[in-house]
Amino acid sequence: MTEAAMKEIILKAEGLSYAYDRPGKVPNGPVLDNINLDVERGTIFAIIGPSQSGKSTFLRLINRLQEVTATGALSGRILFEGRDIYASDYDPFRLRREVGFCFDKPLALDMSIAENITFGPRLAGITSKDDLGAIIEETLRASNLWDEVKDRLSMNANRLSGGQKQRLSLARTLALHPRLLLLDEPCSALDPISTARIEEALVSMKARTTCVLVTNNTKQASRLADRTAFFLMSKLVEVGPTKEFFTSPRDKKTDDYISGRFG
């Protein structure tokens, strides 16, 4: 805890609650209920919990992706680098460039590999071919994909395998050089080898890119994360350093979950 105090807090949730709007229906309780947590720069932060526990919604609130697909009522605050991202003068488009998001399913845009990666930078105003080329190479290397695709960058990205597509998604997200990276069960659709390559990539760049990782796989959390949080039924049950979390959980429910008694 003393060490934590010294590190910079890149993301902070303060009393965060969220409930979906269901027009014409009685609201059936919040999806997130009074969440408080801090994420330090340069670490990997894992969120585990059974499905429907609110962990994905939490992740989607951090880069304001939630509001694109659903409407809901939010209370409390999310601070990214000290600023409230839901403040009225906060620019969500800029936020989404600084906070990357990697989806659970491998999703390639229907264009070439190179165009997939340069999509974000081009929207951000980078036009120079050399710069874009450099970004392509750098991010593909960072996501462990370069050797497999360097000779076919103009091929349609949909022709890649699932594991390759997922690494391409990672590269595409990294192309904007986000300071915070949100990963929503990034390996749930992947085989063990692809998973290992993604995990390697995350660890190797964590000094530069802080990660918040939502995962169903408790083992993955224990392998990768510096700190781990456990969500259950919209509530944050427990958060702590990963080692402590998995060896001596304070909460009975956490213990039940990580030892596989439910979920």
Binding site: G125, A134, K150, H177
Partner: protein
Amino acid sequence: MSRDDRKPDAATVLETHPPMPGAPATAKDLSRREKIIQQILSLTAFSAVFILGLIIIFVFKAGIPLIYKVGLREFLIGTAWSPTQGEFGILAMIVGTLEVTFGALLIGVPLSLLTAIHLSEFATQSTKSVMKPLIELLAAIPSVVFGFLGVVILVPFIRETFGGTGFSVLSAATVLGVMILPTIISISFDSLQAVPQAYREGALALGATPWQMVVRVIVPAARSGIITAIVLGMGRAMGETMAVIMVAGNAVVIPTSPLHPCRTLTSNIALEMAYASGDHQKALFATGVVLFVMIFLLNVLATALMKRK
């Protein structure tokens, strides 16, 4: 492409590049631009409704005064049509339209439904992949060409087989029956395909033959889509002009036999529009109003049926 000689960091690249010159930089600018785009799109979105409104206004404005002048009753049930003498009764045309339309359904519906059932339930993948595009090609053939083929093939055939001139309700109904095939086939095919596979399995697992499965489970489940298909096909037959003009004979009489010639509402307009003026022209617009109302009611029916699905 090897870039091993220089590898600039993406971070530095991004930081040294300001946003595109001229591109809106702040959230405020962006959201203002988004709002303008949305407003333009919402304007285009109403184009269909706007055009529908224009059609109603202009066609009705040109046609309604004459209906007032003649009297709605007189206009609809009058049997005499000599617009130059001031006689405006379109009953013959209404009856002609209905006869031709129902005749077309009589011919077209069984053919299309059986074809749709075959394609959806029994045909092999290769038959399907040949037949589907073929049927869509049938939809692409212009109606004048259908009319022309009716004149050169069907009319002589009917004249020689059944007597009369050959220009008749029967010819018109046959040509239209073929023309509405693609409409009814493709829509009912789609609704048959939308029936969950589980229903098929459920029926077969109880020992139903494929035909029993189709008749007792699949067709009832796809009922609303099939009815919609028939209603839309009916609309197409009712509104068809050129093919009908060429084969129906166009005499203004109430046809009492399938071999009699007839004139439909659509052909009434198309035949006389070229030289009509004054009240005569207005009467043609009034004919259009009657046709419009009939089609509109059909469409409301079709929409209501579709919603029930």
